[in-house]
Symmetry: C2
Subunit: 207 residues, 2 copies
């Protein structure tokens, strides 16, 4: 009956379709927590049958995270964060820094997706290709770390868009922000993530 | 002496570092034309030595397009378009539709980058891999065409962000918007683009 229930249109104003270990989903959870926006969380199947609600809400990518606002779907993590800022301007803090810092923030937020791509290659590939993916990850993380430097957060002492976008991807960033409540309750210990990747590798028949 | 001149900091308030056939650069040129923002256009070398100004302005990607606003660099085409809207709110029209259409617009604008990726594979790859890239392109363009449907523009009768983002990538979209002045003066005939890709293939030793 749980399956049937999940396929019904949920009733909360804000609903997040997500999967616990998704770094893209974690971005949205951190943004929702920062803005203290009450919402319903609907855990989705990653390996089993996808819910009708997910397929209907994100027909192009069929992937989490999806935010439903009064039933209307918003897809892609960085789009969701920007949307939350615009749809709930009174729910401070704003995740977007003011212009012109905002353009730099968007640049780095988009750049962090590269880390994820290289990370996916890392466990899917072998031999030279894996070595190349590892090199690419080190390069991307190096750029990100250099951009953070000695600052507390990307924008100095204000936690915002870039930090939300990077925390699930960049270890240095995660450590720097680990004590923040929105981050602490969203991220999982590396062992738990490794355990999950080991499971994924088995499912996909990768050594 | 031209090289030396290009390396100097240009004097205009708005400067675009670009390369004529870059679809990402074309997005920025269309946005600048739509908003009627006077600017200096600095054509960059694609195959030769990159200018110091480009390397200094976009040290991470070392790629066009880069917008310089009073010397301050803004990189990545979609970030540049959003920046122009925010930095010049009086230069109508705004390229960004109002919330909540804006979230859908951002989703589709980001999606169009997938078309470019597949397009690049198409001329770089061979055999099965090329066939797969071709399949991927048809799939992406199909999704884009379905989203446009019979409408004049993505947002009905208002030309905006998604149209700017897609015109250089999606043939249906380019045809639909071809008579718009900002588009007509920015896009090149397919023969000229093909000629350029043939040159690129020769340079990279691809059949």
């Amino acid at each position: 009956m749980a399956g049937e229930k999940q396929q019904q249109q949920p009733e909360a104003e804000l609903v997040l379709l997500d999967f616990w270990v998704s770094p893209f989903g974690q971005r949205c959870r951190i943004a929702l927590a920062e803005k203290r926006l009450a919402h319903e969380y609907l855990e989705q199947e990653l390996l089993g049958t996808k819910s009708d609600l997910l397929l209907r809400s994100n027909p192009v990518h069929k992937k989490v995270p999806v935010l439903l606002h009064s039933g209307r779907p918003v897809c892609k993590s960085l789009v969701i964060i920007a949307y939350l800022d615009e749809a709930f301007p009174d729910a401070s803090p704003s995740c977007s820094p003011p212009t012109p810092t905002r353009a730099r923030a968007r640049f780095w937020a988009a750049y962090s997706d590269k880390d994820y791509e290289a990370g996916t290659w890392l466990w899917k590939l072998k031999g030279d290709a894996r070595a190349q993916a590892r090199y690419e990850i080190v390069r991307v993380l190096g750029s990100l770390d250099a951009e953070l430097g000695d600052k507390e957060f990307f924008d100095g002492d204000v936690f915002g868009l870039v930090d939300i976008a990077l925390v699930p991807f960049a270890p240095t960033w995660a450590r720097r922000c680990a004590e923040r409540e929105s981050v602490a309750k969203t991220l999982y210990p590396p062992e738990k993530v490794d355990e999950f990747i080991t499971l994924l590798k088995k499912v996909y028949g990768i050594e």
